[in-house]
């Protein structure tokens, strides 16, 4: 088998499971006895183990195997999840992450897991020390008596017995190292179906299909065949290690069912001894988390781009057909096209939506980071995440992680005070950081908010003056909000001591640059001793922007709306010159003028002195400029396309887009226009 072709899938799935592990272990920290969490952790670890063993990454398999041992003890309540164990689990997850990344980068460096393995074994051995007196013997090897049946199952069993068939409980063990467990289980089921009828299996069939079982499972079947026959048939299936066939005694009275949450059954028939069994059945009740899996397909982003292109082309061809229908007055055609129009519009919307990914993908890794960081800094922080289902374009998602890490680190390091300090201020000892995502029009807003000490504008001013970023007189003129925004300036840091967390003065500046390069904005609000709030505004997608289409002679250009302040109408004589640079005066501000026709060397640009001129006021940072155009066509959503390698690096042009009529229009690079 060529393993490489599964490599991508292995890496992606492993990373996903590691995320799940991280999340669940974190939750477990708050709720150590939650069996459901343990089950989920176990499942993820188990999947990683299976995958890595198949791929031949023995170290990963070995480590997860040992993890499973501990998890199993936890699950059976023989061990209690104390801090030591949780930390070891975290360490395991970290090491697994390293191992997986090592596989990804194809590096040969060895990661030593011996220490960790020893630690785990020690923990596992220490079970007797912490284990509660063995009062609950539920972990006993399987025996026929633990199977409970629902009413319908009992009915089927009875009916079968009346027909002279007998019920058997069959315990099937797969060979260790069996790779296709679900396939084997399926073959067992098939074989049994041929001989009789399968009443139920433990775990349930769906779980068997998902390989959510160890190496053995149990099946209850009714059949007319002899037990020996059953055993032989099943053993004939490859990779089956052991088959035990036990006669299954039919419960005389209807026992309490084990159907999860299926309301309360009539308690009248409840026998005293069965009451004892209740607690062993109960933990399986809520199944809320199950829904998360969903059905999905992994698709290469390039394929989606191609799809988007093709849909765009379809729209353009539709427009052409429309034209034909209109010019030749073909009513039938026009009607058909109208319907097609609706379909293509929907299609386009769907394709755009397919590219969207929930921000949860990025947010997922933060709880762990916040936990570790707050521990290192001896602070107590509670991270609250909201709106993780908010969707953003894939391209934005990939870029947004680092800036958010910066903001969160800052919030913990500079924002949240130490527990003593907080209590002295009359706050709760545990600080709170909120990470909130939500839609707002065509934007996504991400807020990082802490209830820490806030930012003192006076200190910021002082620091900025000290570092020579602003002058004393500038500082005096600034209001509080402006002063606080100084934190985004390059080379600024308030922290007196440089920690390895923050304080080097590159953080916020980098955040701002990154966000702006994504076409977004970042702002800050703060109140001393109440906290700070960083608000990031991002476009839904990088591939599609709002733009103003303008005309210069016969050529159409697009100006990104994000860099446009306003459009104004001026008279020719409003243009003044300062040292032969054309300028206009707008609300007391001198704004240099760019004549697009000159800048772009538009041929046949007639030098006719128009009376009324359209000026688009654009800005880049604090600079402003007015661009003179011939006509304003209107605002439109455009899909950004690259000009390709051959034409890369052309000044003034940022890219191209395709208009509704199939024509290509160029997108202006406002930044270079102003230089």
């Amino acid at each position: 088998m060529d393993i490489n072709q599964y490599m991508g899938m292995f890496l992606e799935e492993s990373r996903e499971h590691l995320q799940t592990l991280n999340r669940c272990v974190l939750d477990l920290e708050h709720d150590p006895s939650n069996l459901q969490l343990l089950d989920e952790i176990f499942r993820s670890a188990h999947t990683i183990k299976g995958m890595s063993a198949t791929m031949g990454f023995t170290t990963i398999a070995e480590l997860t195997h040992e993890m499973e041992n501990i998890l199993d003890l936890l699950r059976k309540s023989r061990l209690i999840a104390n801090e030591d164990i949780l930390n070891t689990l975290f360490k395991c997850i970290d090491t697994l992450e390293q191992l997986v990344e090592k596989v990804a980068s194809n590096s040969d460096s060895e990661i030593d897991i011996k220490v960790l393995l020893n630690k785990i074994t020690a923990l596992a051995k220490g079970e007797t020390a912490v284990s509660p007196p063995a009062a609950v013997p539920q972990g006993k090897p399987v025996s026929a008596s633990t199977i409970t049946f629902s009413d319908t199952e009992v009915n089927v069993l009875q009916a079968a017995q009346n027909q002279g068939m007998r019920a058997y409980e069959i315990q099937v063990s797969l060979r260790a190292g069996c790779l296709l467990k679900s396939a084997r289980a399926y073959m067992v089921m098939n074989a049994l179906e041929e001989l009789g009828e399968v009443i139920k299996s433990i775990p349930a069939t769906e779980e068997l299909e998902k390989e959510n079982f160890d190496h053995s499972f149990r099946v209850v079947a009714v059949t007319g065949a002899e037990p020996e026959k059953l055993e032989q048939t099943l053993l004939a299936i490859s990779e089956i290690d052991k088959v035990i066939v036990l006669p299954c005694s039919l419960p005389v009275k209807v026992p309490i069912t084990a159907v999860p949450s299926a309301a309360v059954k009539p308690a009248a028939t409840e026998k005293a001894e069965e009451k004892d069994k209740q607690p062993t059945v109960n933990p399986a009740v809520p199944v809320e988390k199950k829904l998360k899996g969903g059905q999905s397909v992994r698709v290469d982003i390039d394929k989606l781009d191609t799809l988007l292109n093709l849909v765009g082309e379809l729209v353009i061809n539709k427009t052409r057909l429309e034209q034909i229908g209109l010019t030749h007055r073909l009513v039938d055609l026009v009607e058909t096209i109208e319907q097609m129009d609706r379909v293509t519009t929907d299609l386009q919307a769907v394709v755009m939506k397919v590219r969207m990914v929930p921000v949860g993908q990025v947010f997922n890794r933060f709880p762990r980071m916040v936990r570790d960081l707050s521990r290192d800094l001896n602070k107590e922080v509670n991270l609250i995440i909201q709106g993780e289902e908010t969707e953003l374009d894939r391209t934005v998602i990939d870029e947004i992680g680092d800036p958010l890490v910066h903001l969160l680190r800052n919030a913990i390091d500079h924002g949240i005070e130490s527990p003593q300090e907080r209590q002295a201020k009359g706050k709760t000892a545990i600080g709170e950081i909120r990470l909130i995502a939500r839609h707002e029009g065509n934007n996504v807003i991400i807020v990082v908010e802490d209830d820490g000490k806030g930012i003192n504008p006076e200190i910021i001013k002082q620091k900025a003056v000290q570092k020579g970023l602003i002058t004393q007189s500038e500082a005096e003129k600034m209001d509080a909000a402006e002063a606080v925004r100084l934190v985004f300036m390059a080379g600024f840091s308030t922290s007196d001591t440089v920690t390895d967390v923050s304080g080097r003065g590159v953080g916020m500046d980098a955040v701002k640059t990154k966000i702006e390069s994504l076409g977004g904005m970042v702002d800050v609000e703060t109140k001393i001793n109440e906290g700070s709030k960083f608000k990031i505004r991002l476009p839904l997608t990088l591939a599609i922007i709002q733009a103003l289409l303008v005309k210069v002679c016969e050529e159409i250009y697009a100006i990104p709306l994000g860099s446009i302040d306003s459009t104004i109408n001026i008279k020719y004589e409003d243009i003044k010159t300062i040292q032969s640079q054309e300028v206009i005066l707008l609300r007391g501000q001198i704004i240099p003028i760019v004549r697009l026709s000159n800048m772009l060397n538009v041929p046949e640009a007639s030098e006719q002195a128009q009376e009324d001129l359209f000026v688009v006021i654009v800005h880049m940072g604090d600079q402003r400029a007015g661009i003179i155009v011939d006509t304003l066509i209107g605002q439109q959503e455009i899909v950004i396309k690259s000009l390709g390698k051959l034409l890369a690096g052309i000044k003034v042009i940022a890219g191209a887009t395709i208009l509704g009529n199939g024509q290509v229009a160029l997108i202006l690079d406002v930044g270079s226009l102003m230089q």
Partner: protein, 153 residues
């Protein structure tokens, strides 16, 4: 060039016209042939770059081959075509006066360019093919597109 390694020792060419002369490019480099469409001028580019066109949703540069080869320009007509070629992972369109046919030529009947053409444009040519009494000028698309991997421009 890659096509020379063919065991059959034969070369399939797309033959097109520029003015009265006949030119050929290897069919392996040709993706498709289109009628002339809307081409958007791109400022601050060499004059032989006619602009960019829309090919099923992708934006492609278009080269006016006659300008590139310093031939006298001719008005576009109904016969004018854009040949979409792909060289070194770059896809471009080249404008030609007319596309006439696809034909097969033997490697042996190709002369190196120095023997037939002097002057500045030899490096745009990869040879001249003789077929009966016709002469086919074979183009070196890499130099024509003017983008080589080494220089990056």
């Amino acid at each position: 060039m890659a096509e020379k390694t063919y065991s059959t020792n034969e070369l399939q060419l797309v033959v097109f016209k520029l003015g009265k002369e006949e030119y050929g490019v290897s069919i392996l480099q040709v993706q498709e042939i289109k009628r002339i469409t809307d081409i958007t001028r791109v400022p601050h580019t060499p004059d032989y770059i006619k602009g960019v066109m829309n090919l099923r949703g992708s934006v492609l540069p278009v080269i006016d081959l006659k300008k590139r080869l310093n031939l006298s320009a001719l008005e576009y007509s109904d016969d004018t075509r854009i040949i979409i070629v792909k060289v070194n992972e770059i896809t471009v369109g080249i404008i030609v006066d007319a596309v006439s046919e696809v034909l097969t030529i033997n490697q042996e009947s190709i002369e190196p360019p120095q023997t037939v053409a002097g002057g500045g444009i030899t490096h745009y040519l990869s040879g001249v093919g003789k077929l009966d009494d016709r002469l086919l000028i074979l183009l070196n698309l890499e130099t024509i597109i003017g983008y080589s991997q080494e220089t990056g421009k």
